[in-house]
């Protein structure tokens, strides 16, 4: 059940982003989760309904995009789909592969409710300071 701690960590980041943009509330959160991240999307959704209560994301919707597992073979250089416990090359069968997708646990984007004045001020501040949200 570490989905709850993952969720709390995610909401702490969302809080910081909302504060940075002087947003009154968060309306949507998009995550990208791969099967090899160790996170179960269904459990994360459940944890989210508990963890968001009382915070700036109290009424936010959580969208979880599942990413496929893909590997690139070091021997034949081809890419193929794979499954969590079989990450060998789908073309030549070699196990010397690199995972190119499937272990992501990313906070992809946050949708904020910001009134236009504060947004413009925050935007200008962002541009002048060169802050990037990465």
């Amino acid at each position: 059940m570490h989905e709850l701690s993952v969720c709390q960590s995610m909401l702490a980041q969302v809080d910081a982003i909302a504060m940075q943009h002087q947003a009154s509330r968060v309306t949507g959160i998009t995550l990208q989760i791969g099967p090899l991240s160790g996170i179960e999307p269904g459990l994360l959704q459940q944890a989210f309904t508990l963890a968001r209560a009382g915070g700036v994301a109290d009424e936010a919707t959580l969208l979880i995009e599942s990413l496929p597992i893909r590997v690139k073979c070091q021997r034949c250089n081809q890419e193929s789909e794979a499954t969590p416990n079989r990450l060998v090359c789908g073309h030549c069968g070699d196990y010397h592969t690199h995972l190119i997708s499937g272990d992501e646990m990313l906070l992809a984007s946050v949708e904020l409710d910001v009134d236009s004045q504060t947004r413009q001020a925050a935007d200008e501040q962002t541009f002048s300071s060169g802050v990037k949200y990465v």
């Binding site: 993952v6 702490a12 982003i17 416990n85 196990y95 935007d123």
Partner: protein, 276 residues
């Protein structure tokens, strides 16, 4: 500049408000911010801090993971017996409850800090950091972090360690790497433990276990050990000494090293999406 006719959009910031850009507006009064941060970035930040502490003091940190009862503490006891005259060893023990494991280690004459997690199923970088305050890193060569016995959650949390060790006891079944791919994929070394029992267990095939590890695209060595016989720990002790040496060489070059498989956050810095 106003906010209605678009005159505040310039060539310099157009990419930010274009569809998919950082400030593309979804609805009136709403802003979408692209982030692309690891969900555990708070933990990862603390882990990087821990790792730099270790590196500063020349400490090699090894994270031990397995199911409960696979023999992590027994392995550490025998390892301390074998190496305590050559290396200064310390242990951080993670368990839901009790000081039992830390006491077993202290009985061997090395410092041990017990972290009791309550109901938490894994250690995280903050817990380890708190424990580090109770250790004098200047007096340590190898720090073992014995994670909570669990083949699921510990794999997702970077603690700042340099290497991951996953134990699989032969009583558990040789298909555990296929059942718990996230955990076994994270291993830099897999130890098959309690191999003295292979004589009476005809359903555990060590080669099959190795094969399942390979199917995770892992080149990690899969070694067989038995903590009850000192001589049968040699493959593990050799690996450990080699790692101490690799660590020293890395530090001498001013580099740090990390487990071969990284949680997504570490990789993100090279990800093309991270800096659009």
């Amino acid at each position: 500049m106003c906010d209605t006719c678009g005159c505040n959009v310039t060539p310099g910031n157009r990419h930010l408000v274009a569809p998919g850009g950082k400030f593309s507006r979804v609805d009136k009064g709403k802003t979408a911010v692209d982030v692309l941060q690891n969900l555990l970035s708070e933990n990862d930040h603390q882990a990087a801090h821990n790792r730099s502490h270790f590196d500063q003091h020349g400490v090699l940190a090894i994270n031990l993971m397995s199911s409960p009862g696979a023999g992590k503490t027994s392995l550490l006891e025998k390892t301390i017996d074998a190496l305590k005259n050559r290396y200064r060893i310390a242990v951080i023990e993670g368990d839901l409850e009790t000081e039992n494991d830390a006491q077993r280690i202290r009985d061997k004459g090395v410092p041990a800090i017990q972290i009791t997690t309550g109901n938490a199923c894994h250690l995280d970088a903050h817990m380890v950091h708190d424990a580090l305050h109770q250790l004098d890193l200047k007096t340590i060569d190898i720090l073992f972090i014995e994670n909570v016995g669990n083949l699921v959650c510990p794999a997702s949390f970077d603690l700042g360690q340099h290497r991951n060790l996953t134990l699989l006891s032969v009583t558990e079944g040789d298909d555990k790497p296929a059942k718990y791919p996230v955990m076994f994929r994270a291993a830099d070394l897999v130890l098959l433990t309690k191999t003295d029992l292979l004589a009476v267990l005809d359903d555990f095939n060590p080669d099959q276990a190795t094969q399942y590890v390979r199917q995770l695209a892992s080149e990690a060595p899969v070694l067989r050990v038995n903590s009850r016989q000192a001589a049968q720990l040699n493959p593990w002790l050799d690996w450990l000494e080699q790692e101490v040496e690799i660590h020293r060489q890395c530090l001498a070059r001013g580099e740090s090293h990390r487990p071969a498989i990284q949680p997504d956050g570490a990789r993100l810095h090279q990800h093309p999406l991270a800096h659009p």
